[in-house]
């Protein structure tokens, strides 16, 4: 039984957040199954949507870009959460799948006259294709997961990152090679060029990309949620918690482990393609262990096995450099330069966060929610 993401093997029962929600009256199972199944959730969603439309008009382009990239990586984080959080297969190989997606997107959607391979296909082809190619890569890796457990699997997937790095470095007509890199796919959808510096129907590039990323995130978050709430997501949870028991009740372990990898890689693939299309130029070094770890941090900081947690985690990691930059400028320079401080703070914030809130942002959110649910009576 893998215990990597669960608590250390100490308890028969597992700790849980505890506070019981009030029994909420439902009149049909159907209602119970809808996405926003409580009034509070529905109001929350509405508030979020409104906020998303206001934010781009309040912030400068550079911050909007950070947020847009954060939202795009949130899709990758959802993908990682599917395989690692929901299905319990710890993967350090996410960077590899993101890379596969990024290069698929760049090749299919890249400039046909550029120095690197490019076919100039439209976005509605290259984006899903990037996901599909990455998913196929996931399908190939999946069977390994059936044989391996826990950290063995984690390090093997880490091996993928190194092998991938080698391939990316050597496939120069596709990737440009180290120190050179290549351009991502052309960012054009419905005739709108999202990479253009010219205002797009009144919107700046930052605003336009923000909306593009938002739409992308909403679509994939819903897909992710669908997987999570369906029989597939439940089967993932069963495989994670107790795989023998899962098999004995009729869950095909091989099938679901492979499926988890494929689905997760699909999310990684589309993220990779879009992310690096927005970034513009990228080189093979981008898909290193560090990237995998960053995604793992998103999942852990956001909250394991929650879709909204993945999103919060991704935004947090995206904003973290800004946050540490902000704090670093308030600490007097002495022994360390402001940049060293910044880098150290990045590490410290991740640590501090996990130490003080091991359940992640989603845990904080649940606590706040529970508090308000009970308000003005507290339990």
């Amino acid at each position: 039984m893998t215990t990597l993401l669960r608590t250390t093997p100490s308890t028969r029962g597992r700790k849980s957040t505890g506070v019981r929600g009030r029994p909420l009256l439902r009149t049909s199972y159907d209602q119970d199954l809808t996405l926003a199944n409580t009034g509070a959730k529905r109001r929350g969603v509405v508030a979020l949507v409104i906020a998303s439309f206001v934010v781009p008009f309040l912030l400068t382009d550079d911050l909007l870009q950070v947020l847009a990239l954060g939202m795009i990586s949130a899709v990758g984080a959802i993908g990682l959460n599917l395989v690692t959080g929901y299905a319990g297969q710890v993967s350090l190989g996410h960077a590899f799948f993101i890379g596969v997606g990024a290069y698929t997107g760049a090749v299919l959607g890249g400039d046909p006259d550029g120095a690197m391979l490019g076919y100039g296909l439209p976005m509605w082809i290259w984006l899903p294709a990037a996901g599909v190619v990455a998913a196929v890569a996931g399908l190939i890796v999946g069977p390994l997961a059936v044989r391996l457990r826990g950290l063995y699997l984690a390090i093997v997937t880490l091996g993928l990152v190194f092998l991938g790095d080698h391939i990316f470095r050597e496939a120069r007509t596709i990737t440009g090679g180290p120190g050179v890199g290549r351009r991502g796919a052309e960012l054009e959808l419905f005739g709108i060029d999202f990479a253009s510096m010219e205002p797009i129907s009144g919107l700046t590039r930052g605003q336009a990309q923000f909306f593009l990323a938002l739409a992308f995130l909403i679509v994939f978050a819903i897909l992710g949620r669908n997987i999570a709430r369906s029989g597939v997501g439940r089967a993932f949870g069963a495989v994670r918690d107790r795989d023998v028991a899962a098999a004995v009740i009729g869950v095909d372990l091989t099938k679901y482990k492979v499926m988890a990898f494929a689905m997760s890689s699909f999310f990684a693939g589309v993220t990779g393609a879009l992310y690096y299309a927005v970034i513009g130029v990228f080189e093979p070094g981008a898909f290193s262990l560090l990237l995998s770890i960053q995604y793992l941090a998103m999942v852990l900081i956001g909250g394991v096995a929650t879709i909204s947690g993945s999103i919060m985690g991704a935004l947090f990691i995206a904003l973290l450099p800004r946050i540490s930059q902000f704090i670093a400028h308030y600490v007097p320079e002495g022994l360390l330069t402001v940049f060293q401080l910044e880098a150290i703070l990045y590490g410290l914030l991740i640590m501090g966060f996990l130490i003080f809130e091991p359940r992640g942002l989603f845990g904080i959110w649940t606590r706040i929610r529970n508090y308000w649910k009970g308000w003005p009576f507290s339990y």
């Binding site: 709430r229 009729g250 869950v251």
Partner: protein
């Protein structure tokens, strides 16, 4: 009686040095409650593991619902209609009660990953329909109050009941119960006994029961197989098995003829 639901012949199972099962033969028939008893380490759980495909016996044949299931993978056997509970609770502890039971219905969902991703339409209809069945089981086992709680934090007795529910949700053709009343007090044991009787009488599912609570076994079982050191030592009605000298020896340890007669007398 009619065709057996399960028919086990000459099963041998060994683990590096330990002979867990040797020459095990038995049949279980429709609507029968078949009990397996024996001292610790006799091989009872191993029989369950062989039946559900967790262990692969070195020898012998296992037939279930007309299919030879030896060598089949656990989920395939489950999909043929075999369900079980475990000696150590094996629930999905991070999932809530409803999800645990819904997982019991995994094979009945009838939609694939594509429908799941799309959700609306087929997947949603299937979820609603199956959820209805699960609610029936929740009613049957009287666990309404725990529906939305993660099972990990529930008391032991309730967890045992949920595990039974998960097995029932599979609509099995055969139900294997491994020590369902271990760790329960008298009253809880009675409740469990009642559920077992209801399953038998209302749902008409044949069962194999492994249990150390002799009172329960002798009262409920139609037939009993007693085992020791991986071998069946006696099979028959509760009364027959109870007074079998080998069984008494297995349970009480080596006894002389006089005490044996005494115990037999007491039991009779």
């Amino acid at each position: 009686m009619s065709e057996p639901v399960v028919s086990v012949r000459g099963v041998e199972l060994a683990f590096s040095g330990v002979k867990a099962l040797q020459g095990v033969d038995f049949d279980v028939f429709d609507n029968e409650l078949f009990a397996v008893i024996g001292p610790n380490g006799a091989g009872k759980t191993s029989i369950f593991n062989v039946l559900s495909g967790v262990y692969r016996p070195q020898q012998g044949s296992v037939e279930f619902a007309g299919t030879d299931i030896r060598g089949m993978r656990p989920h395939q056997i489950a999909n043929l209609g075999m369900a079980r509970t475990f000696q150590n609770i094996e629930l999905f502890e991070n999932l809530d009660v409803v999800d645990n039971l819904m997982l019991g219905r995994h094979a009945h969902l009838g939609y694939g990953w594509a429908a799941a991703v799309a959700w609306f339409g087929k997947a949603k209809r299937a979820e609603v329909a199956n959820r209805r069945r699960v609610e029936e089981i929740i009613d049957f086992l009287e666990i309404e109050g725990y529906r939305q709680l993660p099972v990990g934090m529930l008391p032991y007795g309730i967890q045992k009941r949920i595990e039974l529910g998960r097995a029932l949700a599979m609509e099995p053709k055969l139900l294997l119960l491994d020590e369902p009343v271990a760790g329960m007090n008298g009253e809880e044991t009675e409740d469990m006994a009642r559920f077992i009787l209801d399953i038998r009488n209302e749902l008409r599912i044949p069962m194999i029961l492994v249990e150390h609570d002799m009172g329960l076994v002798m009262d409920l079982a139609d037939r009993v197989m007693a085992m020791d050191f991986g071998k069946p030592v006696a099979t028959g009605t509760p009364h027959e098995v109870q007074s079998h000298p080998d069984v008494i020896r297995a349970y009480l340890g080596p006894v002389d003829e006089a005490t044996l007669a005494e115990v037999q007398g007491e039991l009779a």
